[in-house]
Symmetry: C2
Subunit: 344 residues, 2 copies
């Protein structure tokens, strides 16, 4: 496989490296991936995160493993282990399906590696397409609210929702971004601020409970978020707190867009109720644990509910920004996400 | 003044003590109040917090100062300094108005002290009345969502919203409480959990962005919150994140109650737009700072928006639970909060 370089993923001289996102924004440290179990742990522990990036890292590892001489059974086992790393994001499943297909067809190691490289390069192209479609929806001077992190740290390319914001900024649209901190794991406060700062895009950090008050006084023009899985009826799973924003946007008549590549659509999934939601460690809510330090502020052992994602129903979405274009609710009801829409 | 004892406030042998709420739940440390400037700093720094309690502590300090021999001008200066401690909660203003009135009328130090004691004892009675009215609204087996801290740490008595929950629990209603952590200052995670644990009431801690998903699947039967100031049209200011809950409850047809003593109603304030909203230190949002430790997880100097409160409009409120009873929207429109309602 040729050398590949993304903000948080690197294939160089035949070795896979990932940027340890747990250490951002304080430190930029690259980790050398040397085993499947290690990679699974890095994904579970959120060193590698973002629905597309998880899938791309896994795909590159399978390509790398083929080139290291793993045979059909070994590669199938490797793919099986990677599949179980996290349950909600569907890109991982899609990309590993492609690799397993190449393995099952008895492709050469070089061909399997080429599929992995194609997964990476396709994501870059998908991001560029989404960014262009989405940026056209933003108006000059818009205040955009976003949640979690959906930029170049989460993909091989420019990102999903943040990719749209970056492109609008490049087009000179004079965008300002409200960044939800995104409790419990603070991807907005840690990662999106870091990305926007590097890109020179004006932004302001808020706590998740502050978005409503901003909308009430007309200080949010649009909400733009990513997705971990989109069902074929348009319902989607994304970072916990997204559904809250959709309800608030609906109440205040603020347009609400979800931005994702077609690899995030699960056509086998009829609706949001069928998307598995990962429950995570109570310690994440009892305090914070990270490279910035550890604080426990709650009574020890307080009972906690900690779903990583929530479901936003299609009726609250103004538009689905995919690489193939922007779709409305009626187009989604007509089958736009299944590729069977006659008017799309 | 005779000895007085509340969960977070104590007058004993002629000295005022406050429980340092910054150290909870890790440590229970009482601070001896020895000066007006010190008390103002304790209020600003949230060692003493909760709209009623701030006012009661200030009132007791004025009574104490009178007994220490402060004359009319000195007491007026003391009251003036205390008034500026925090701008949003109106109980502080109401209670200090009572003390200033006694001072202006040339009352004896003993009489001024008696007014302060009455402020304390009245709050205990108001809490008991609210708790009874509110508990009657809760059904057996209810899952109640609450925000911030509104229990006995915030008042001289049983509390406002948490007082209602405590009373329902005492009545054997088998209540379970969802506790919003309440970023940025985590009063829910630190204080409400501590109070509910001491009372043996089942509860589960969540991040503020998780309430919406719980409502979507029918796991929240009622939302009960406190208030820092209620305008005469029923709009009210409360801890940032409250308005979000009101919108979510409205969307999901979940009853939403605000619980406050009559001393929280500002009849001079026509509507929510007239309530001053305190902006606080950006560092509170860039990380956490507390007795549990200090973590900065955002890029240093990231721009921050940090209002301490937001405004919930009257049309999203199912009922106003005051010490005098429970009022509906139409009663509030008829003047229930101004004491001029013919049907209340």
């Amino acid at each position: 496989m040729n050398d590949l370089e993304a903000t948080a993923l690197r294939y160089r001289d035949g070795e896979l490296y990932v940027l340890d996102q747990r250490l951002l924004p304080g430190e930029e440290r690259w980790l050398h991936c040397t085993g499947t179990a290690q990679l699974v742990e890095l994904i579970r522990g959120l060193a590698i995160r973002g629905a597309p990036l998880i899938g791309i890292a896994a795909a590159l590892w399978v390509g790398h493993s083929a080139l290291q001489g793993e045979d059909h059974d070994e590669l199938t086992r490797t793919i099986g282990e990677l599949r179980k790393a996290r349950p909600t994001a569907v890109n991982l499943t899609h990309y590993l399906d492609r690799l397993q297909h190449a393995v099952d067809n008895g492709q050469s190691a070089a061909k399997i590696g080429a599929v992995a490289v194609d997964v990476f390069e396709q994501d870059v192209a998908l991001c560029a397409a989404m960014s262009n479609h989405g940026a056209a929806l933003l108006q000059a001077g818009d205040n955009i609210l976003t949640h979690c992190n959906t930029g170049s740290l989460a993909t091989a390319g420019a990102g999903t929702a943040v990719g749209v914001i970056m492109q609008a900024h490049r087009l000179g649209k004079n965008i300002h971004v409200w960044v939800d901190e995104t409790r419990p794991l603070l991807q907005g406060a840690r990662l999106t601020t870091w990305e926007l700062q590097r890109a020179g895009i004006p932004h302001t950090l808020i706590c998740d409970g502050m978005a409503a008050g901003l909308m009430a006084v007309g200080r949010v023009d649009r909400v733009v978020v990513g997705a971990d899985r989109i069902a074929r009826n348009g319902d989607f799973a994304n970072k916990i707190g997204t559904f809250m924003l959709a309800v608030l946007a609906h109440h205040h008549q603020v347009p609400f867009y979800v931005v994702a590549p077609r690899t995030t659509v699960d056509t086998a999934c009829p609706d949001g109720g069928s998307i598995p939601i990962e429950q995570r460690d109570p310690e994440e809510v009892r305090g914070v644990i990270g490279s910035y330090g550890t604080c426990l502020w709650s009574p020890p052992n307080v009972p906690v509910y900690n779903p990583a994602f929530d479901i936003t129903p299609a009726e609250l979405v103004t538009g689905w920004v995919l690489d193939s274009g922007v779709y409305t609710g009626s187009q989604v009801r007509d089958g736009a996400l299944t590729g069977r829409c006659r008017n799309c």
